[in-house]
Subunit: 255 residues, 2 copies
């Protein structure tokens, strides 16, 4: 079944989801965004109506997908004219019920992926965590997700928040470690690109090994001499030295 | 130029390097390993001599590559009969000079990658950090590395240790974060496989963006509400809560 869908928001999530739903044969009816220029840019790909005025939203569509950031969602919901249109949000850390003021038919359409504008993503592999306020809404949410991804699952708001939290460790904090490595290498006139192959391999390994079984390194081996050499190198980088000690202790405590 | 090469050690590094050098047309003359069974298994692929007795090493080869772990290297070097054969090690954290007792011709042939037995690796992309005690040895080390990788560079022992340290952050500690996420999800009966696509994407992004520019998440956005929700979820996981606070503070201090 093909649906008429509108978007609130025109950032990375709206950009990727609207293109995927359009490619799957659904109709993108409207793009509403506080930045009219961005709404126009996205809408023109689909010949859709666009506006920066949320009161112009057409509540006769099958579903309206609200792609705004977690911290903006509440404010946006209260500005949507009340109707019976299915309204969905795409946030990891907001409960489903936050949508209740806008419609009795509401749900969550959360892609657990980090989207960048202009960088293609294989949407078929993106995990979608779905939730709905009633059966009819649930059917639409599942049909929409199923039309663009092979990786969909039901998750309540608590489970979704737990996944979101775990992704902060596995994505945001991991990237921070890349940044610490980059900063340290730059300070020593060395080249971060040397680490790119091992970073890819580390990420690839956990497709087939559990992270526990994939753990390697001086801390895992109990190689005290290497650990001491590393700590000595970090004598002038107290923050990195503390980070090194914390991770090393945590890995050794588990051995 | 094709060389005659022997290996000391029969672990993952020896396994991958010997196969790559064999495929590049060099001859694997001997495999010496303290575990004769492993030496035999590796040697039979090349029809090479094998032994668990290091005194049997044939010092007439062009180069002997010592693929033992950083913490075992010193002991192994002292057991090698003294000769003029080129002797190389493959360790990130050991200085080149550790090889001096065995030969006046020595160097380092360090692949900055995490090898797993039985898992293919694209050796052409593996960064090799090279060092040698004299010009003649340097020519052989470069020729060997150049025959199997497109990513070779000179690095002195300090620079190599600095790269090794940065890889501990970007590989070992990153994997530990994957493990923390896995552990947390398991405790909540959730499925780590949901994170695999975002983990791959996080690693892929830094091929084209600097880690600083690739940083996203609640800490980067200053999304206090989401941070507070996450910390509340971690109330019964004090170790993870502390880790979360440390990373969040570090990211926010940089904003």
């Amino acid at each position: 079944m093909k649906y008429k869908v509108s978007f609130i928001g025109s950032g990375n999530v709206a950009w990727h989801l609207s293109h995927a739903l359009d490619a799957a044969g659904h109709t993108i009816e409207q793009v509403i965004s506080k930045t009219e220029e961005n709404a126009a840019e996205l809408a023109k790909k689909f010949g859709s109506y666009f506006s920066d005025d949320i009161s112009k939203i057409d509540t006769s569509v099958d579903a309206c997908i609200c792609c705004v950031s977690d911290d903006q969602l509440k404010t946006v919901v209260h500005s949507i004219p009340k109707s019976r249109m299915i309204i969905l949000h795409t946030c990891g850390s907001q409960s489903m019920d936050i949508l209740e003021p806008a419609s009795p038919n509401f749900g969550v359409f959360y892609p657990l992926q980090s989207f960048s504008k202009g960088k293609a993503i294989d949407m078929l592999n993106v995990p979608f965590l779905l939730e709905a306020s009633n059966n009819q809404t649930n059917d639409v949410v599942h049909a929409l997700a199923d039309s663009i991804s092979n990786n969909i699952r039901q998750a309540n708001s608590t489970q979704r928040l737990q996944y979101h939290l775990s992704a902060v460790f596995a994505n945001n904090f991991v990237n921070r470690l890349y940044h610490e490595a980059d900063r340290y290498l730059q300070e020593n006139d060395l080249d971060f690109s040397v680490l790119i192959p091992i970073i890819q391999e580390t990420a690839a390994k956990i497709k087939t090994l559990s992270p526990k079984d994939a753990q390697t390194g001086p801390a895992k081996r109990g190689d005290i001499q290497t650990i001491e050499k590393h700590l000595k190198l970090l004598a002038d980088h107290k923050d990195l030295q503390q980070l090194y000690v914390n991770f090393t202790n945590a890995i050794q405590d588990e051995n």
